[in-house]
Amino acid sequence: SQTIHQWPATLVQPVGSPLSLECTVEGTSNPNLYWYRQAAGRGLQLLFYSVGIGQISSEVPQNLSASRPQDRQFILSSKKLLLSDSGFYLCAWSVHGSYRDNSPLHFGNGTRLTVT
């Protein structure tokens, strides 16, 4: 069966420090991978998604970046965190789509990031 691992579960970082959140998927190959951010009182904001190694689509042109160094690994990074980066970060995967694929997203347990 497929599983998704996301870590760390919680993180407290000072403003200006770097960030690295990691997500890995097991039990499947060539998944679509996603990073979302959920700020307090707001919905799920799509940050990045990837349909394959080296293919990253950015939805948010801020100080965050994403990389996919391996097929089932997705990393969210920042060189310098801002206060506004605080939030709940969710990694997710789905089956790489055929034309008629309606597979849902499978989410990790999330990372609560507090920037102080």
Partner: protein, 113 residues
């Protein structure tokens, strides 16, 4: 760009009654998929129901059903016989054929005993 709108930030329903959550979306695509996800206090995201845009028949999953109006770009969720465990944040989502999946801002559902 595709957008998803959930205009009601909060709703409440009495246990055993029926409630309808609204969702509208904007797209220029003709083929896509729509989803409703539930997020309980544990913050885990749970798929409730899905709908293919090319299917005219509304999806149903036990007590959950949708009213999909493609021309109006409307995708509402009906919860019948509401239970206390249905209390959660509910998110409407749109998935394009490019694999991009966009969520609405969510709606908090309270179930009163």
């Amino acid at each position: 760009a595709q957008t998803v709108t959930q205009s009601q930030p909060e709703m409440s329903v009495q246990e055993a009654e029926t409630v309808t959550l609204s969702c509208t979306y904007d797209t220029s695509e003709s083929d896509y998929y729509l989803f409703w996800y539930k997020q309980p206090p544990s913050r885990q995201m749970i798929l409730v129901i899905r709908q293919e845009a090319y299917k005219q028949q509304n999806a149903t999953e036990n007590r959950f059903s949708v009213n999909f109006q493609k021309a109006a770009k409307s995708f509402s969720l009906k919860i019948s016989d509401s239970q206390l465990g249905d209390a959660a944040m509910y998110f409407c989502a749109y998935r394009s054929l490019s694999e991009k999946l966009v969520f609405g801002k969510g709606m908090k559902l309270t179930v009163n005993p």
